[in-house]
Symmetry: C2
Subunit: 587 residues, 2 copies
Amino acid sequence: MPAIHDRSVATFVAQLAASGVRHAVIAPGSRSTPLTLALTAPGLPIQPWLHLDERSAGYFALGIARQLGEPVALVCTSGTAAANFLPAVAEASLSRVPLLVLTADRPPELRDDGASQTIGQTNLFGSHAKWFVELPVAADDPLIERHARATAARATALAVESPAGPVHLNFPFREPLLDAETTLLAPPVIETAGTFAAARLAPDSEEVRRLAAEFGGRRGLVVAGPESRGLPVEAIATLAAALGWPIIADPLSGFRAGDHDRALVIERVDTLAREPEFSSRATPEVVLRFGAQPTSKPLNVWLAGIAGLRQFVVDDASMGSAGWRDPDALDGAAIRADSELLCEALVAELGITGAVDGGWRELWLGANDVASVALGEAIAALEVPFEGRTAVDLAAALPAGATLVVGNSMPVRDIDSFFPQLDRAVRIVGTRGAAGIDGVVSTAAGAAAVSAEPVVLVIGDLSFFHDQNGLWPVHRHGLNLTVLLVNNDGGGIFEFLPQRELASERFDEWFGTAHGLDLSHIVALYGGRHTLVERDSAAALRAAIATPGLDVIELRTDRSTNVGLHRGVFDEARVALRTHLEGVETE
Amino acid sequence: MPAIHDRSVATFVAQLAASGVRHAVIAPGSRSTPLTLALTAPGLPIQPWLHLDERSAGYFALGIARQLGEPVALVCTSGTAAANFLPAVAEASLSRVPLLVLTADRPPELRDDGASQTIGQTNLFGSHAKWFVELPVAADDPLIERHARATAARATALAVESPAGPVHLNFPFREPLLDAETTLLAPPVIETAGTFAAARLAPDSEEVRRLAAEFGGRRGLVVAGPESRGLPVEAIATLAAALGWPIIADPLSGFRAGDHDRALVIERVDTLAREPEFSSRATPEVVLRFGAQPTSKPLNVWLAGIAGLRQFVVDDASMGSAGWRDPDALDGAAIRADSELLCEALVAELGITGAVDGGWRELWLGANDVASVALGEAIAALEVPFEGRTAVDLAAALPAGATLVVGNSMPVRDIDSFFPQLDRAVRIVGTRGAAGIDGVVSTAAGAAAVSAEPVVLVIGDLSFFHDQNGLWPVHRHGLNLTVLLVNNDGGGIFEFLPQRELASERFDEWFGTAHGLDLSHIVALYGGRHTLVERDSAAALRAAIATPGLDVIELRTDRSTNVGLHRGVFDEARVALRTHLEGVETE
């Protein structure tokens, strides 16, 4: 007789496949043997991916799930292996990416009594998992098998259900973990029972009438923030056109690049909001927000400080922790609805009479154009290495269909400030849920694992160092990844913060934190190609993108001059903006 | 006026120092600025250590705390940074090492509402922390300051209190995080208020009489398992002498090496328990256990299978999850008491009449000597690289006062099987709480940070790779660390498990997990010296120990022949053992 857990594990995995799981990331271990064998059975329509470091594996799974917009299984053995998943689980929760975290555990009789490789795994991820399930120890009972199937179906549906996120299933496995007659080596029978019919949250029609009345004819802005699954750009663009409102496009909103309607897209707000001559004229009456809080701090500070401004946050999440995207406690309201359905309903309600006068959009679009040209010229004129130039070089080099993964701290801010609109479809993604510098390499590796088109990562040196183990799957699975490594030997963002001014005697040691490492050794470890560039990275990026395997292009910059270079570029754009505004009639 | 949290943070840190905290490990960040500034103030008697990777930083702090036997502070900023601490927190809990985990957080108004770098940090470590405390947001109120002092004193006392472990303090910091008049740059006033008078759990005298009556004259064994803080070797040795019982000495028990009384120490039980001719004669009636479950599986399986054997586990922990070190659900009892006090009380009660007849100890000591000689000869005769030989080479090379940090999976098993007794004081430590392969490099780096004597790490390749970021402090702080890297390109332990036999077509990919990396690149990244050895590592170890900085000595072995080599060595010892036993009269 095969090991008694064979049937329930095989059934569980078969249901995952039936529910649409196509990828599983597996960290090696002994206790997890039944899951590993079931997920690597020949003929199963699930692609298994091996990873040696559970922390990176979590973000690798998250990268796959974000890229495909579908749930990914993540497997580890018992003990601290599972604890290593917590950062990625927290990120998946906040950035709303579906993950099925499957942890092997000792059975109850080997818990809390000093057995090896055993930690408390019950509710290990606390509030960061949408659901914690303790599977029963397998037994020769049909109910156990049916329960395994139902749990797989339910967990997958829950992970995907908006707001998507991680669920945690803990599997107690009693020895023997496998035996000579194991059935887990054979392909499982895939049935289609237990799937799930999804629904979307439609807005109340009375609310839609009220909102249309409030929005119509007003000077408003659509703020399109980061959204892992992608915002419904067409529906939002149609609503913006109906209202005559500019669309403030965060780089992670999906609005900056693509062949959708970009007539109202503003990508230079991070510059515009720095210039009082502009912002004082361009004060909106209403703001309609989609996605998470935008990256641009000047934008956020400006909008939060406008007295009497009504701001609305559209979200279909419930009002618990995941569903209240309003750190500035704005004067406004949450609109609970599916974004696309809300936009369509508002457009229908507004008709052709809802738009504000054209001067409002012209003010914004004109200023955006002026800032765009001025920023481009200011950057082109710089002869020293400039971190912000990476955004321009990436925009020049990325082909249609490419994915750009953006690191946190400075890279995402530089992309926000300097990445222009493109008519090519370039997907820009980040890890903005918790916005940590950890796990970013793995996020990009995960995207590369499932993308037929180029994947490029732009990342700072501390973040690259932190998740260097994330490069292992690129080596192991022969993935194609290009990395633009912006190396200022430490925490460049701190040069922009008050710590720089006030604690100078301790700044370099405790905030600047130079690592002093030659990062090319990391590239050599994984058999990648390392290229140093002096100032321009576009040509090297094009060459790397055209070459299979791992390429790391390193731009070494000077942390101490970086703040001044940024300020100079913004100042030149602000001068151009003021000159432009002098020629524009005030209303 | 300085930022309002200055006084409570400075008071908190001053009390940590007054309570005996001498080391703090700090990962960089912005939100944690008040803690970082307070802990790096000049004149503070706390040594701050910078680390760039929070996961490794947690184990680095744990390594310091284990080496010194005192609580260490561990600091990070908000968000996933804190989540990276979970593996080390779980290990600290299970291996009973005191840690003060200080996480910076956003204030309440910036939680659960989409603010950046914010995750739910309340009870982040769940049952793995002994205590979770949310500090109040600082206010201009003397009670807040007094509360900060009291919390620091209480948290330190609780972390140290047996069983020692991690406590988690979460600090909400509202902006400004620092200002021009910050007082956190100045040395804090250290006062001695709020310290703690510790106590030890004395055994009940009636219980002592009962136990002495049960133990006296019986054939018993003392089983000395792993214990982070160290077992009271003198007291246990005195008790063993009074009873005439051999001491089964796990390598992490502190019994194998040193100038204490080793007359009854058995270090070859892993071999002895494999030989039925011996174990059937050497069956004990009573077992008295100190510390955690031993490393040797043959020992554990043998003892758990002896019908009618009475086994007692001595522990001063309460009966909750930390305090029931009995995964085999033995037929016996838990004795709740301080180990040293219990031993002393039993010795006083037993007097000179408690010992069993001398044949019992001679049976064990004779067999141990025979196994010791036979194992040594079998290993010396091997001309191919043999992983077990590392234990012999380490024993030859380690000077008095050295610390040997032992990796999990195969290294700790090889040390258990093959590391002989030494009359030099060599401390052997591991991370056997959760026994993960993660964090081991950092544990050794932490030991090296605070040890004036040599620290040597023996570790497998997957474990070395997993925590390679743990080498950064060795580079940054100029530590002296020697690593003996046993590289079998994958998970060598799986060759010993049933997975090897039954799933051979998938074994190499999913269990053997060859990484295919040239690990010398990792050594180069941190500016270390890399030495390949063919078979013998003792000379290279001696040279490396005598040289400052990072040395990595790599022994490349063949996973597929490793099981056979081990079996051959054990078989030779078993043959010698059987021959020896034929010459010993049975009782």
